[in-house]
Amino acid sequence: MERMIEKWQDRISEVTLGAVKESGGTRASTVKIGGESGIYFLKGEDACPNLPVVAMEVWDMEPENWPDALKSNFGSALKDPAEWAKMCVEKFKAGVICLRLASIHPDTKNSSAEEAGKTLEKILKAVNVPLVIIGSGAHEKDNEVVVRCSEAARGENCLFGIAVQASYKTLTAACLSGGHCIISEAPIDINIAKQLNILICGMQFPSDKIVIHHATGALGYGLEYTYSIMERTRLAGLSGDKMLSMPMINFVGQEVWRTKEAKTGDEVAAEWGPARDRGALLETATACSYLNAGADILVMNHPKAVEETKKVIKDLCKV
């Protein structure tokens, strides 16, 4: 029987994260995401030059609301971002680290841009993998901090986030000046996602340094909305829509560890299965769903979930 292989008009842009010494950085190697000329995991099509990547999340302060099931994996390293990052790379084999600048939020520690910049510098010294750096979600403060951080990581080709329609100019300018990549985010709205990419490119930002985020939903918390919009984005990108032909990222850990299923202890909900495994299982299931929707980079928290997701990626790619 003849094998029908879908021929697409275009390919997804290939985004390189990190920079080695020759290109002005200090990373040991770079990580490439995207570059697909077809859908992931279709056997024999050879359309995806790069596998999806799992990044591990590190905070610049000890997370207060994390349940023990998650915290216990990192021990005292949670108090020191550089140690934490090192542990993720050395012990849990993370290929990319995602630094979340949670402490700069006015409602947490309200730390200064200077403090954030120093933390970033320490992490850059402690590990040699590419970095994703995201703000606290308080736009005004994030804009203040990103300028210092972009400078601190100049030449390292990090992936900075998160640009939204209401606040993208400072971040775009900072990334342009520091030579970094950018995450553009729309709240599960493909039309706004496209518009935001046009606005960012309108500032002469190269389209092959943009990664799309469609606000991630955890399993049971709107995953299907994100899933279907990711599918539409990927199909539009492959069909020639240049403003949607970018790799996609999902913040899986962040969403899963907010859910009551992941956070509730054994004493309250024994019938849900042991709390020790529950969150990691949810994280793995959410991550694997997004892999099938076309995710190119997944930011995750639990080491076991990271390990399992990597296994799934490998298995799905076996011919």
Binding site: I190, N191, I192, K194, Q195, I198, L199, C201, G202, A236, G240, D241, K242, M243, L244
Partner: protein, 264 residues
């Protein structure tokens, strides 16, 4: 929408003059202007006045390919001039055009095979242009069948249902639209629908030409038009085309959809 810029045609005085004087700058500037305005390809026609069409076509193609790597539609009915143009193209060319006469189809489809070119087939033959869509579709079918016999990929075939000026043949416009709609079920994959758009307003008042062109283009896109040979430099016209395609859901909406299209 695949836009073929119509401006490099010896029917225009400046082009005829440039061919005569071998003035490359005029041609190259016309090419650049059309590309900047959004043309995906350029039509190249030496015009009726040329005494050596073969040589003139070669010169025109060379002049354009020297500065731009863009698809060219070699527009001539003469085999030697066609071959002179095809021979010099750097990217996959378009043969513009062949009618439904057997001898013409044999000649030009053989050339298409030889030069790996797309082909525009006109729904007309020795007896002229049919009055209705049935007649046009019959000729379109003949062209599709001949293309298949010559081993041409049907997705490389464009069918032009030949629009006549509205001021002399008003009834033809709706027959052309009907033909475009039905072309899509002629074969699988279907041939593409193309129009030599400006003909619809030929002879009309200068002031009305842009309005007629624009309106008919939008109607044709709604009927399934894939490509047009048109004035790429008319921004109102290309804006209308982009918007019509948006409303046909060929592009995802965003507030800057005009810019987004032009960034492709």
């Amino acid at each position: 929408m695949f836009i073929i810029g119509e401006r490099i045609n010896g029917m225009f005085k400046d082009v005829a003059e440039a061919i005569k004087k071998k003035d490359k700058a005029v041609i190259q500037s016309l090419a650049k202007k059309q590309i900047a305005a959004g043309a995906n390809a350029l039509d190249v026609n030496v015009g009726p006045a040329s005494d050596n069409p073969k040589e003139a076509m070669g010169w025109l193609v060379k002049t354009i390919t020297d500065i731009a790597d863009i698809t060219l539609a070699i527009d001539t009915t003469k085999k030697d001039a066609m071959e002179a143009g095809l021979n010099l193209c750097k990217s996959k060319p378009i043969i513009n055009s062949v009618n439904a006469n057997e001898d013409k189809m044999d000649t030009f489809f053989a050339l298409a095979k030889k030069y790996n070119a797309s082909v525009i087939g006109l729904t007309m033959d020795k007896s002229g242009i049919p009055k209705d869509s049935e007649g046009r579709l019959e000729l379109a079918m003949k062209i599709v069948a001949s293309a298949m016999e010559h081993g041409i990929d049907i997705s490389d075939l464009y069918i032009d249902a030949v629009i006549l000026p509205v001021n002399v043949a008003q009834a033809h416009a709706q027959e052309v639209l009907k033909t475009i709609r039905e072309l899509k079920i002629l074969a699988d994959p279907a041939p593409k629908a193309i129009l030599g758009l400006s003909n619809v307003s030929q002879g009309s008042n200068e002031r009305l030409k842009p309005l007629i062109n624009r309106t008919f283009l939008v109607m044709a896109i709604a009927s399934g038009l894939d490509a047009a040979i048109m004035d790429a430099d008319d921004k109102g016209l290309t804006d209308a085309a982009i918007t019509a395609e948006l409303l046909m859901e060929k592009q995802l909406y965003c507030d800057s959809f005009l810019d987004a299209y032009r960034k492709r």
